[in-house]
Subunit: 253 residues, 2 copies
Amino acid sequence: MLKVSIIGSGNVAHHLIKAFAASEEIELVQIFARQKNSLIDVADNCLIITDLSLLIEADLYIIAVSDSAIGETSQKLPFKDRLVVHTSGAMELAAISERNRSGSFYPLQTFSKSRNVNMKTVPICIESQNSDDLNIIKMAAASISDRVYKMDSAQRRSLHVAAVFACNFTNHMYDIADEICAGNGIAFEIMHPLIIETASKILTLSPAEAQTGPAKRNDTVTIDRHIDFLQDTEKKKIYTLISNSISKHAKKL
Amino acid sequence: MLKVSIIGSGNVAHHLIKAFAASEEIELVQIFARQKNSLIDVADNCLIITDLSLLIEADLYIIAVSDSAIGETSQKLPFKDRLVVHTSGAMELAAISERNRSGSFYPLQTFSKSRNVNMKTVPICIESQNSDDLNIIKMAAASISDRVYKMDSAQRRSLHVAAVFACNFTNHMYDIADEICAGNGIAFEIMHPLIIETASKILTLSPAEAQTGPAKRNDTVTIDRHIDFLQDTEKKKIYTLISNSISKHAKKL
């Protein structure tokens, strides 16, 4: 069995721990968290350590901490020449101290602690410095997901930017819709079928083919009315900028 | 059986025709299209007329044409004092010529001809000038959907603006992600699980709770790197504006 230890207790760590704990191909050796109780209900209590110097031997150490903490965390590891990966979309392999062999283990998904995710469908993007290490990382990834992609740091960074648009910015569009509904006495639940269908269309149509709405039709009367309707300056700006961008794309097709 | 005729052959008309044709509570009397072949495979050929003056008696006439054509189409109807509704989110009842009784029949969904939609789950927002007409409109809506909402024109307009954010702008975020993937040799399919999960989270979390990503964490290092990465001025502007908006929202929580 492949021995894996996880360093971190945030959203990504939380979901990786659950997935590895459920995998029969993986021995989850240790989990480092600054505070034991941050992993209550997630991990077997006796696996949790709160001192990095207690880390014992494993085939793979996965650092699942915020981007800005990867460097410092990797420098504090009490060993050298072992395989250490991070889970960041934005960071290069060099973020990990060169005292160890570095790699990437980036799960492309939006994780919230309160929501279960089927890890089998989550793409995991992997990278390493040599092919032996890649095999180890691939085994670990394939033990929890059916979608493992080899990808270099430049591609991973571009994917991370794309994910910010497709996930974080999309969710903010939902948030603005929620605010508009709330301000007009409408329950946000009425938007659920529209939101699900908008996402589901993408499984069979390209986004360009799936586009609908006033900006796509270049319906300037409706666009101007909507901008008038929005009181808030920031919402007006977002509406105008994205509508212009949609209209330009539609003309190119 | 309630007698319904539909005027129009666009995306919305297309899906309403299919839904009413399948409903046992509705007699689909006639369908007006400027060109018969625009409704091939959708409607029984003998129901289609291409001349508005041939419209015969029905309980409800649904004008499903573009917003800018509603007024002119309603003026050309060869009768008076009958119940005529439009399917627009943006237009008031007064868009329909006052020679007939007016109402609204707004299905809140994104429709593309090439994609089937389960109309039972589509919210239909209805409005009328009097309660008798509302009952007729409600019967028609309830015959094809389980989610019928009475709503005045002001609420419908606000819902339409919210829908532009939650659907049209969201789809444009997918489109930008698609462009970024294509420009970096990545198949867009890798984004599918992320897009579906981002939408699905909304069924159990509020958008504010579901928000993740660098702007939510106020991770300015990653944000600046992403803006550097984006070559295109318009994408840089969109990235900056939406990230600022997310950060402000996150601070308010």
